[in-house]
Point group: C2
Chain length 152, copies 2
């Protein structure tokens, strides 16, 4: 996808990512570092948990979703970071072998009052599995360079 | 720290974690997988960015904070996952060599209407650097097993 400056984002526009399949190994490797709860890292404990088997850490689902978004290239050199996110909802467990894709919808755009070189793009991320079930939604505030802002 | 069931959490209580120092290698390794923006993975591009050098992905800061919380053992086998998080604010960049610690305050506890074996513990996570500056805050909804709920 062509890189966009702040001025290029329109409310209602949807950005569609590629897909990513999460393996058992990736799920366990992530969770051992960042979320070592039994139902993320231990097959036996997970089998006896309410989830009935290993599920991906919600932080892994978020990271995977954001990686898919970055891989679109839409804010390749125009992205300037983020002050925050809101309304993260893990709606369904993500299990090994599931394939995720993201739809990122532009909800609002506004100029920055304090920094004339950038604008704020509010996006709703929706992550779906291979059955087109919504597994994650979240609102992400993105700082994006303006076209006329000179070098980054 | 001793493991807690739902009934053991009190509003206003604060849980303090150990510390974790993030190395350049860890920051780049995480970001290459989950947030490959130039100011997280490329020393030269980062030096020319508004951040003036590499900073940790905000998702890495969140994951590190949650790992520190899990390492307290407070929900070792009583944690039952989470439906979501709110109000994530990345308040200051986290740079290589910085040392993070977390204070997790119990904001609200309530029984689950649909699942009598669990309760909901709403926590505010605050992550500080070695200068005691607040770098991240977020609200996390945690499902926690009740003491009288039988086996997990």
């Amino acid at each position: 996808m062509k890189e966009k400056y702040f001025e290029d984002f329109s409310v209602g526009e949807k950005i569609h990512t590629n897909e990513k399949t999460l393996s058992t190994e990736e799920i366990i490797e992530f969770a051992e570092l960042y979320d070592p709860q039994p139902f993320h890292i231990d097959e036996n404990a997970a089998a006896e948990s309410p989830y009935g088997g290993i599920i991906a850490s919600g932080f892994h689902t978020i990271g995977t979703s954001f990686r898919l978004f970055i891989d679109t290239g839409v804010i390749g050199t125009t992205g300037m970071g983020s002050p925050g996110m809101d309304s993260i909802r893990w709606l369904k467990p993500v299990r090994p072998g599931e394939t995720l894709r993201v739809e990122a919808e532009v909800i609002e755009t506004r100029a920055s009052r304090s920094e004339p070189g950038r604008g704020i793009v509010l996006m709703e991320f929706r992550t779906f599995n291979q059955e087109n079930e919504l597994v994650l939604s979240m609102r992400s505030v993105n700082l994006v360079r303006r076209r006329d802002s000179g070098n980054f």
